[in-house]
Structure formats: C-alpha cells, structure tokens
Subunit: 201 residues, 2 copies
Amino acid sequence: MVRRVIEFWFDFSSPYAYFASETIEQFAAETKLTVVWRPFLLGVVFPKTNMAPLMQMPIRGDYARRDCERIARLLGIAFQLPDSHPYAAVQASRAYYWLEANRPELALDFAHAVFRTHFAEGRDPSQTSVIAEIADRIGIPSDELLSAIQSNAVKDALRQRIDEAIAKNVFGSPFFIVDGEAFWGWDRMPMMRQWIEKGGW
Amino acid sequence: MVRRVIEFWFDFSSPYAYFASETIEQFAAETKLTVVWRPFLLGVVFPKTNMAPLMQMPIRGDYARRDCERIARLLGIAFQLPDSHPYAAVQASRAYYWLEANRPELALDFAHAVFRTHFAEGRDPSQTSVIAEIADRIGIPSDELLSAIQSNAVKDALRQRIDEAIAKNVFGSPFFIVDGEAFWGWDRMPMMRQWIEKGGW
C-alpha cells in the first residue's frame, strides 16, 4: 500500500512552524496521512525571493510578534521570542536527518524538543551544548549525536534536502505539500484540510 | 449609541482584498459591527517595509496566483489576473472617498464594482474610461464623479487616509483593525471573528 504523505517543510527557527509542529501530527491522523518532517534552512532560500527574517522586518516584525503571541494564547501553548531568535538551525536540522535515518523512533521527539527548547524555554539551539542537552533528554547519547552530525554524509543529507526544497519552490515556513499541492503558512492548514477531504476543487 | 466598527483597509488592486470585499459585509452583520471601508495605496507603504507587489515577487508570485485561483473556486466567485494587474488605484480610491462623503448610499456599490471590474471582468480601473463606466453603472453621472476626483479636496482626502494608514502601521491588504487589534490578511478573518466573539484572549 502506498503511503499517502504530507510533506511538512519548516525552519526550526520559525515561530509559525512551531505552531504547526504542535498540531500537524493530529491533523495527519484525522486526515489519514503520514507526516514527513522536512527541516530546511530558510536563510538559504530568502535571497531567491528577496525576503528577510520576518521578525527583523520593519513594521511587519512588530505585527508578527503580536500575532504569534495571540496564536500561542489561542492554542494554549508556551511562547516566547528569546534574544537568540532567529537562530541558525544547521545543527538541529542535520541532527534531525541523522535521527530519521538511524533512530527514526526518536526523530519526532527530537523535533518537538528543538522547537520547545527555543520557543517555550528561550534557549538557543544553534549552541552545541543545547543540542547535547536535547539528545540526552530524548535518550540518545549526546556524543554519538554530536559526532554523527559532523560527518560529511549528514552534512550532505541536509544540503540535498535544501536543494529539494528549492527545486519544489518551498519559499516559506511552514510549507506543506500534499498530492502535489502547495500550502504556505500555518494559517493555510484549515484550507489544506478541506483540500484533502474534498480531493481538491 | 457608539457604533462599533471594523476598519477594512485595502488596496483596490489586491486580490486578497477582493476576496475579503465579497464577504466582509456579511461578516460584519454576523458579528454586529459596522464596516468602514478604507482604500489606500499599498505602493506608498511598501518602501517602509521593503516589500513589493506580491504577484511580481519571484516564486512567491507563482504561488500566490495559484493560491488566489483556488480561493476563488472555493468561494465560488469569478477571478482572473488580467495583464493590467497590478494597477494604480489612485482614481478609484479618490472616487471612493468622494462618494463616501457625498453619495454614501452609492459608495459600497462603487467599491464592489471596482473590484469586480478588474478581478472578474479583466478591466483596468486605472483608466479614466473604466471609472466612468463604473460611475454610469452604479447610477452617478460619470462627468460629475470624474470632475470631483480632480479637486484638491478629494486628492487631500486620499492623502490623509494614506497618512492614517501609515500612522496605524497598516502594511498589507486587506488589513483589519477592530477594537484596536490588527489583523492582516484575508486568512485572518476566522481568527478575527473569534477575537470579536470572545472579546479578545
């Protein structure tokens, strides 16, 4: 049986991706899809669309901060934008792909932990020590994970996913692809659900 | 009794504002608010946020085109992006404010006609002849309207609204303000409804 999947592209440093990460698995269960988590680096894509990190944009950044705070209250989840925001999610993304390939049963826990460490606890996952803490927390020896993400194979794995994102015109975070149809943004999830349920329109 | 209002800021040339324009009056009726229609010129605001017309942005423009087409099908309304898109809505916006002040009973018909003339019929409302046709269609002598929008008073009226938009940090279209809370985008209307019904959260 062919698995019907929803590709969930995101940058770990994206607040709207954090919101999506908290509900996407339930969304997938309800729509009978399997989520494929696809971290990538938005910073690599931005030059292609003349965009910049949202929170650093004049006027729009202030609005986005307030928008995120009210979404978090609505969802009932912790949220903050620590001084380290936005951070470069290179190590976290490499670690995700290594886990997906080698310890898939821990990959989801890891992804949630990365998001929550930053947006709920205010830590900076660009720090190696923070990745190490997350590894210990989810039950993988931190030295094993840290040494794995230094390998060229893991670096290539992330690079290939970023190339894939670019090839698929993924330009934002979160960004979903289901049955070849693209949906950009946490706020497109209700429409994506309609699309899935109706089989398009 | 104080009227409780929802400010509906938009550029006539914005497709997502067109979608909002088709449902905002019903939205307001259901939430017991009065809509204040506030056309402005997004092009004046863009330099302040380093943004550009959506459909002209690389990659994002292609996505937005497809996104708009599926939204229109979902809403069951006609939609196209004619060659004249995006157009400068200076005359249409001036005409709106003149009607609001002098023939308020026709202002809403005019606004709908401007949106539909472009997005449903593929015409270019930056053309004086198109504004004249719209005037005739809604029942105002076109020479009266065309001469009114040449007056300095009407030009100032639009300029003041644009200044107001800038002062209120209105940076996109559609952009709603209700009870001092800002909501950007057609896709924030469901959340805005929750906000109104709950009195915030």
